[in-house]
Homo-oligomer: 552 residues x 2
């Protein structure tokens, strides 16, 4: 997900908020005793990754091509055999194509062709998910994220033909290999090159109906690949970057997984890991790391993601009937509701200004998006989903105030955020109209079906409406279309947006995609974008959950 939003001011406010919670005596580490138990359950459910050896399928060259994605086209120029059969000295800069996106470890050997190797060989490997990563120079680096995310590794080979494995895990489809140093006394070729590809996926997903349109089948295939690549020992957001568990990605991945690979243990593991690493006051941290030991990104409290934990847990318990996990983690879900209680005003409106100062409130990669309506919507949605979970678990008594609070928020939203004249939901002092606001107002149930249809249709005609910035919000938009029974519109949105990536050659779905600006990057340098990103995988969920819409 995003890194550069985690600015000191957020850390500061999060810390203050945390202190505030403690001072309010809501609870002093209410989970202290359970933490170790949760982390142990997370460990117990850690998947054994499957490992598959993958080999190059061809050699490609990159060409500038204005019609290709980001202006770079990769065309096959040779079979992979050329790599092994002729001097590497004449092949420096070769780009090897593995034919699909892979995540794992790259191993190679060199073999002498002539003479005895009498000096080390210096090679540079650059791994790319998309051609532009191999076409553009990385230095001098202008991006905002760590330069080290870019996957260029320099290797000194001291023994030939011993195998060398690049220590870092890599993700991508293409591998450029450059020769930076060798001796004139011998010649050599690449002896072997293989990618040990890892994933937590072991099952095959059900087949789609034979009536499924080609484009939808392609979108499903690319979505499945995206999900598979992100399913490692946690649901990662992206195997190239950031390589870790974020609650927002977990939610979308677990939905897609439920309708495809059905690795429930992985979902369960992620819930327990997040619970075990929640803040001392019981509030969840937005993202966690597994190594060298499980730990959270201290201070990274993201409001909407706390809520989505509850939503994801409810979906999981409903789908699996695993009430034991639901009961184990119920205290965590219950705790997140304090956020709603804290910011819900007497008028039933969430104090989005105060929340925005004290939290990282996300919703989308979109500068200028007003988040009042989205916050109101997700809060209401979360209250409803959590109450549904309470009922499933027989815990309504724990949250008996919630139905009334939800009712209050709903009325207030309708009163303050709905413009009956335009049929659109608005947000903030400037009454901004955005896809985000319509989507969350629909999902929250504020809008009736008729109102929802009107709003979702109308927003597409508003000139200045704030469009989604990334696939993540597109998910909620499509979900809202489906919720409103706008089947054709939902199908079209999936076909246009994710289908657009497919048509542009995506092997996996991208973290950021603006059909009108392929070079868009939240980080100032688009090759550092993730091009295999969990939050973009949800067409798998839509296509498979709603066959009547997508598979015909």
């Amino acid at each position: 997900m995003l890194l550069n939003l985690l600015k000191p001011k957020f850390l500061l406010f999060a810390a203050l908020f945390s202190v505030g919670f403690a001072a309010n005596a809501i609870a002093q580490d209410p989970y202290h005793n359970q933490r170790q138990d949760w982390l142990k359950k997370a460990e117990d459910n850690k998947p054994q990754l499957s490992e598959t050896d993958k080999y190059p399928v061809g050699l490609v060259k990159l060409e500038k091509d204005a019609t290709a994605f980001q202006g770079w086209k990769a065309s096959t120029v040779d079979s992979a055999g050329k790599l092994y059969n002729s001097s590497f000295k004449n092949q420096s800069g070769v780009i090897v194509d593995f034919g699909e996106h892979l995540t794992g470890y790259l191993t190679f050997t060199l073999k002498a062709l002539k003479g005895t190797p009498d000096a080390p060989v210096r090679l540079k490997f650059t791994v790319g998910e998309v051609p532009s990563e191999l076409a553009l120079p990385f230095d001098p680096y202008k991006g905002e994220l760590s330069r080290a995310w870019l996957q260029d590794e320099i290797v000194t080979v001291t023994t030939i033909p011993s195998p060398v494995t690049i220590p870092r895990r890599l993700a991508g489809r293409y591998v450029k290999i450059e020769l930076l140093g060798t001796s004139s006394n011998f010649d050599f070729a690449i002896g072997s090159l293989e990618f040990k590809a890892t994933t937590a996926v072991t099952a095959k997903p059900p087949l789609l109906a034979s009536t499924t349109p080609k484009l939808i089948a392609d979108i499903d295939r690319v979505g499945l690949n995206t999900l598979k690549e992100c399913m490692q020992t946690v649901y990662e957001d992206g195997p190239k970057r950031d390589r870790r568990l974020w609650i927002g990605d977990l939610y979308l991945e677990s939905l897609a997984n439920q309708y495809s690979y059905q690795n429930n243990a992985l979902t369960k593991r992620c819930f327990y890991l997040l619970a075990g690493l929640s803040d001392n006051d019981g509030i969840l941290i937005s993202n966690v790391f597994e190594n060298p030991e499980p730990h959270a990104q201290a201070g990274s409290r993201l409001l909407d993601y706390c809520f989505l934990f509850n939503v994801a847990l409810n979906e999981y318990v409903k789908a699996t009937d695993d009430k034991q996990t639901g009961l184990d983690l119920w205290p965590v879900a219950k705790k997140q509701l304090d956020i709603a209680r804290k910011y819900a005003g007497k008028d039933g409106m969430m104090d989005y200004i105060k929340a925005g100062k004290e939290w990282w409130v996300f919703f989308d990669w979109k500068d200028g998006l007003d988040k009042q309506a989205s916050l109101q919507g997700i809060t209401l949605y979360t209250l409803n989903q959590t109450y549904e979970l309470a009922k499933l678990l027989g815990k309504e008594g724990d949250v008996s105030d919630i139905p009334a609070l939800a009712k209050k928020l709903k009325s207030a939203a309708y009163k303050n955020l709905y413009n009956p004249k335009s049929g659109l939901f608005v947000s903030g002092a400037n009454r901004q109209i955005s896809y985000a606001s319509q989507a969350w107002m629909v999902l929250s149930g504020v809008a009736s079906k008729a109102q929802a249809q009107t709003a979702l249709k109308a927003v597409t005609t508003v000139k200045d409406a704030v469009h989604p910035g990334a696939p993540y919000l597109y998910h909620y938009y499509v979900a809202a279309l489906i919720e409103s029974d706008l089947k054709n519109e939902a199908k079209e949105a999936v076909q246009n947006y994710w289908g657009g990536m497919v048509k542009k050659g995506a092997d996996t779905f991208w973290e950021v995609y603006d059909p009108n600006d392929e070079l868009k990057s939240p980080y100032g340098f688009y090759p550092v974008n993730s091009y295999c990103h969990a939050w973009s995988c949800t067409p798998v969920y839509f296509i498979r959950k709603y066959p009547e819409i997508f598979q015909r």
Copy 2:
């Protein structure tokens, strides 16, 4: 040793010569049955390396200083503690000083100072034996040897604080660490940095006499360090470069070892390894590699080194009384004499022109050196030493032609290469006067003691005399001075030449050293020179074998 002389033409001639030997039916792989046995004995004598953890002793800065070696001075600016106690973001480019030359593996950890590490860190480590390696940019690389010899390694650290070990073995005293990429969301420091230093040396050498002059004691200390660093699982020529066993280096190292660390197993191992990897016709290959399995540098036949195997073996058997090894390897020594027989003309002169076309004939790193006299001298020296070995082993009957051949070579040398008028030995059609020719004529016994003294004194006064190009030939020059009883001159040569390196701050003795040209490099780029080189370690041998000259 040298790499760029190993040009195709040498390989070609070596191959032709090899075929010639076979055609002459001298023998068709006479060692076929013994090879595996020899290699097994080499393996049986492989030392268990000692490993010692070494830590930084300070931080240094480099300054341009015309009076410092190669123009760069390293001055301590901080204690090592600063590295660990403050942000590395403000220390990029820091140079860590380990206080001594080390060979082994570098391990480090990073530790977070602020925030949670949320991105990989990209670091560049550059290891240098001398300051110039850290001061000069390596790229664009203009040297003739592989760029990969230079010790700059780029490392991506994906997990903090897990330890990272740079896979490549490194050699040097200084480590520059540069930050190439990190995230603005956290801060970090170097948590630890250690060099796991390896050597085959386990014994302490005897103390020098208390009367030993300070400069001589310093030369001995630096020589011992040089030898220790080069003693790994073979006698390496240099731990930075070329990291392998060359016969010429083995000879000098085994001499120095005999008077210091006395690791006889290592000497024995190297003899067996060379024997086991000799060419199919029984001729030795000049250099061999240990990994991934023992193998020779195919085609690299170096005439003078074949002879020095015999000399080294004789010295070893004399010093250790290990006749079993002498007898085991006698067939190899005997075989090398065929080279003398082949090129010795009826007139008793070695056909140096033919030999020079068919072999790599080395003697020194010196362009323009005429090698006639040196070849005549080393051949005679080898015949005498080998016959001495034969007598020790009771094998005179195998080489009964040798005394007569030696006598013939000696007379011819005296007749053709000695100028009684000048008292100097000359070499080649142009009657070149060089240190090399005087040294080898003295060592061979062609000159009487009086003639030797005259020649060795006279050469220093000849304006155009060809001086030694590297420490390797300096060894033979000093040996000749001692042999001629020119004690003061021997001591002065050691004090001036090796003492010159000591005074310039050498931690270990250099591969190449011209007091008048510190930037000299046989490879077109002096940072790729080896600054810890086995063939420069022999003051240890001289100082300890001849205490009456050096230790008072």
